[in-house]
Amino acid sequence: MANIDDYVARTEGTCGKEKDIIVIFKYEKKDEVIKKILQKAHLKKSIANVIFELTFKEFSFRLYGSGKAIFRSLKDKEELNSILSALLS
């Protein structure tokens, strides 16, 4: 499994009714992260070639060309870490 601290700069809870988590990947690693995630996850849709709507196992999330991602409906941070670890390994 990957050490997610090598890839993740910070995580942020979103403000709004949707209680999602935004993951900001380290800028210098963003290309590597995008490549890894696009290889592992299933691409449902690409919007303007910047927003990638993806699924991985039973989870759906969106990845952005700037190296950020929004994960929806997660139980907690542990669940997020486990998905990230699997996606980035």
């Binding site: 979103t14 403000c15 709004g16 009714k17 949707e18 999602d20 935004i22 919007i47 303007a48 910047v50 927003i51 969106r62 952005y64 060309g65 700037s66 950020k68 929004i70």
Partner: protein, 409 residues
Amino acid sequence: MLDVYKIREDFPILKRKINGYPLIYFDNAATSQKPKQVVEALRDFYENHNANVHRAVHTLSQEASELYEDAHKEVANFINAKSMEEIVFLRGTTEAINLVAYSLGLHNLNSDDEILVSLMEHHSNIVPWEILSKFRGFKIKYVGLDNDGTLNFDSFQEMFSKKTKIVCVSHVSNVTGVVNDIKKIAKIAHEHGASVVVDGAQSVPHLPVNVESLDVDFLAFSGHKMLSPTGIGVLYGKHEILEKMTPFQGGGEMIKEVSISPTAHRCSVTWNDLPWKFEAGTPNVGGSVGLMEAVKYLKHVGMENVKAHEEMLTKRAMQCLSECEKVKIYGPRNVSAKCGIIPFGVEGLSSHDVALYLDNYGIMIRSGFHCAQPLHEMLKLDSSARASFYIYNTPEEISRFAEILKEIE
């Protein structure tokens, strides 16, 4: 009209590129960028004049005290307050409203009383009153809005009673940019014997504001939204009201005398004069110097010019965004009734999706509730994307912003 291209030269940050694209900063309702004149004033203060203010006899302290007092005078002049005694420096709008809530409300509101709070308020003009009502038992009546987020005046007037003591309202909504008719609101409130507490965080940086003409009792605003550093804000209060109020916080600077009788276990305290009575502890002297320079900068540009420039940008943005098939603009469409703030949504995307999409192209906007969840609930929105403009934004940036949004298919 202001020369936006000349103004931009004063803001080094605008030369930055984000993800390889020129920075377009449209998150001005959250905080503004700082001109080099403000940064230079801060540097000069800390390199040449830094000391604690008041009471020390040495030269540096006298210089720092003079600068600190000059900053109060500059702000008083900017909003047409009668004197610097009506200008209290605090951390920002939130602390200023908390001061009014605790200093005025804690001592004057009882279980028989009511206050009116509009539903368009930022949380900072709701939560302090909610906390205080738990202590004092007074009732908070929330003033409804029309479907486009403008204040419903009929509802507002109907809510007044003999029990109404305070009216809390934003001058400009931080979500919709709606400009409230504060003069009219103050007149109605005063006819009912109520005080008016105005959140001016989104108006003072963008419009000419004259407290005498508006006849408000309190006006709170933040420096950081008007080119100044963070951590410095202002509470304007009418002299006669501030004079009667008990301090919010106790400590150094805000007292004239503290005398303890150890045998009787009694302490007597004499408050300092206005405005120092409300400025407990060592103040943010550096921040006040930055704020003074920011005010000078805005005065030089001219607040009528600031208003006209933002109106032009808003009109253009409303036009460009209305041409984007998937974009829906929230709030009123009438540009003359609002400031340079546009809340919007994009079909099929959350507000955070929109903000992250634009971020990819170096365009900074806000997404979420913008600390105004009740307003979003009233408008039946889960959240909103928000673009907000200032003196350094250009029509070309607006066009670019709309072009990028149009690329969403």
